[in-house]
């Protein structure tokens, strides 16, 4: 509520009580993931369960990172290489989005694109499309192209899913920048491209950060496409590897939890670092369409 709402003292207490509930709801599960990742499985199985772990250990992380030998090390040893794959793919897709997607967003915001309404609709539809319907086609196309089990194929597939988002976000962002800015650059002797690169882009930092962080996060977290297209050992990204570990009965939950926590950390930190821009970019992108 706006200032002035719930001024009574009981109201304040209620607000803080609710805040505690919301906080627990939002971060409690994530913190518990961390707690399990530094616990021994035997302590997680104990009844009654100790909420503060009686023993703290980094053994799970050592196992996952290949520093100690254990029975399922074959599975766990894939964590670091697949993390590298995730990083390469997510970075490449982000770069493509920030160059191609941003320029297209600028075009939509400033020019009379032929069939603008139709192509915007197509863009929106692509955004709402069940991506999984495209995967059988990618599967066969990539097989023909020899792109199966390659990071290039994954980058290509991810670009097709993320570009509509980026164009949409950047279009909304560019629309908040007064068109007079470009016009004055044009009057000063820039051509369109120069006006875009020298004048508009430098003031679009927040929009670029939002689109970039969002794209990176989507790629880092994507599971289904990577799971199906890159099945060969060592060619896939983190989420399929973790899902694979989870499907093995002989790996302790605490070990899987540590790899889950490791894989979550980069995306969470990225989003927290750029949260201001991200929220701004995503809300203008969605609210204004």
């Amino acid at each position: 509520m706006k200032p002035g709402a719930l001024e009574r003292r009981a109201g304040r207490t209620l607000v803080y009580a609710l805040l505690v509930v919301v906080t627990l709801w939002l971060v409690g599960p994530f913190i518990w993931l961390f707690v399990t990742s530094i616990s021994y499985q035997r302590n997680l199985l104990a009844r009654p369960l100790a909420l503060v772990p009686p023993e703290v250990t980094l053994d799970n992380y050592r196992m996952v990172l290949g520093m100690v030998r254990f029975h399922a090390e074959g599975q766990a040893a894939k964590i670091l290489p697949s993390m590298l794959n995730s990083l390469v793919v997510a970075t490449a897709v982000t770069v493509v989005n920030l160059t191609v997607g941003t320029t297209a967003g600028y075009a939509y915001a400033r020019f009379r694109v032929p069939m603008k309404t139709f192509s915007l609709f197509a863009l929106l539809f692509t955004r709402m499309l069940p991506t999984v319907v495209l995967i059988p086609a990618y599967f066969l196309l990539f097989k023909a192209l020899g792109l199966q089990n390659t990071l290039t194929g994954l980058v290509l597939a991810y670009c097709s899913f993320t570009l509509p988002f980026t164009i949409w976000i950047m279009k909304a962002y560019f629309e908040t920048i007064p068109a007079d800015l470009d016009k004055s650059a044009l009057v000063d002797g820039c051509n369109r491209l120069q006006a875009y690169y020298r004048v508009v882009l430098p003031v679009s930092g927040p929009g670029l950060v939002a689109a970039g962080a969002f794209t990176f996060m989507l790629c880092w977290n994507e599971f289904i496409v990577a799971q199906i297209l890159n099945t060969k050992l060592g060619t896939t990204t983190l989420p399929p590897v973790i899902a694979g570990m989870n499907a093995q009965i002989n790996i302790d939950y605490s070990v899987i939890a540590s790899s889950g926590f490791l894989s979550a950390l980069p995306a969470v930190l990225l989003v927290l670092c750029f949260q201001k821009y991200l929220v701004q970019g995503l809300t203008t992108g969605s609210v204004k369409g």
């Binding site: 509520m1 706006k2 200032p3 607000v15 919301v22 709801w25 939002l26 599960p29 994530f30 993931l33 399990t36 199985l45 009844r47 009654p48 369960l49 909420l51 191609v100 309404t117 609709f121 929106l124 539809f125 709402m128 499309l129 069940p130 999984v132 319907v133 495209l134 059988p136 086609a137 990618y138 599967f139 196309l141 023909a144 880092w220 977290n221 599971f223 289904i224 199906i228 983190l238 989420p239 973790i242 899902a243 989870n246 939950y253 899987i256 939890a257 889950g260 926590f261 979550a264 995306a267 969470v268 989003v271 927290l272 949260q275 991200l278 929220v279 995503l282 609210v287 204004k288 369409g289």
Partner: protein, 289 residues
């Protein structure tokens, strides 16, 4: 470029839904394109669709999906709005709380599933541990054992992941309501609930609608959580249309029926896009006038 990487696979998938796709025999009629030969398989007409619509499993999944989407949209809207109302109050550390909102949303669904396994598992689940300590249960509950309870777990876990984004959108909407309106309402003697009913909710109507449409689409498409938490089971009791399509195409490798199932979803999403498009553009027009 986008039309190339999205439209072509989309059309190719549509073709497959009308074909008898045998992945082992990719010879036969093929589309020659830039020196590539893309297998076309044997055209079988609407056979895949006819069989599909006669399959009780499809209709079971259909109604289950309807329940899933309904429950998910409702929970997301209610919890999203509830959290937005709490976070809109004035309190210490409000910016921090808004960052915390992004944590569940920035996690990969694989990690989301993983950490909820840590909370709900029948052997080491923390929620079970808490309930047991509090003396509320005598033995640990297996939340994923019965189909209906597993389905509801999926709904709630997905909501945990998605509701924060709805909250962000709603908070952005609340901030655009002028403070004067609330002051005027207060002068007129409106209490908290009256202000909510007559000022906040009407002003948020557009965004609430957006939240409903977006979460409907997301509900229809949810796949990765099913993969990590239930695999559609026990039996087929958490099999939704998107899981059925995924399973048919990629576990049984029946691309024809699989793409047909996924195409029925695509058509649904297309309809929802039309609705979204209309709303967004009507809103834009209103703003421009």
């Amino acid at each position: 470029m986008i039309s190339l990487v999205v439209v072509f696979p989309l059309v190719y998938s549509l073709w497959m839904s009308f074909a008898d796709v045998n992945l082992l025999r990719t010879t036969g009629p093929a589309l020659e394109l830039f020196g590539l030969s893309i297998p076309l398989f044997r055209y079988v007409g609407a056979q895949n669709y006819v069989r599909l619509l006669a399959d009780p499993l499809y209709w079971d999944s259909f109604w289950r999906t309807a329940y899933f989407v309904g429950a998910f949209v409702l929970e997301t809207a209610v919890v999203g709005l509830g959290m937005a109302l709490v976070l809109q109050e004035r309190f210490l550390g409000r910016p921090l709380m808004r960052s915390l909102l992004l944590i569940p949303w920035s996690l990969s669904r694989i990690v989301v599933g993983l950490l909820w396994i840590g909370l709900l598992d029948v052997e080491f689940g923390a929620l079970n541990g808490l309930l047991y300590r509090a003396g509320l249960i005598d033995s640990y509950i297996s939340f994923l054992k019965s189909g209906f309870s597993a389905l509801n777990v999926l709904v709630s876990v997905y909501m945990w992941n998605q509701a924060p984004f709805a909250t962000l959108l709603l908070l952005a909407g609340m901030q655009s309501i002028p403070t004067e309106v609330y002051m005027a309402a207060e002068v007129d003697g409106a209490g908290y609930w009256q202000r909510l009913r007559y000022v906040t909710l009407p002003a948020l109507r557009g965004i609430l609608f957006l939240v409903l449409v977006v979460s409907t689409v997301n509900g229809f498409l949810m796949l990765d959580l099913i993969y990590i938490l239930t695999m559609g089971g026990p039996g087929n009791e958490t099999t939704t249309i998107s899981w059925l399509g995924f399973q048919t195409a990629f576990q049984f490798f029946k691309f024809g029926p699989g793409t047909a199932i996924l195409y029925t979803l695509t058509v649904l999403c297309l309809l929802l896009t039309v609705v979204y498009h209309k709303v967004v553009f009507r809103k834009l027009d209103a703003e421009q006038i």
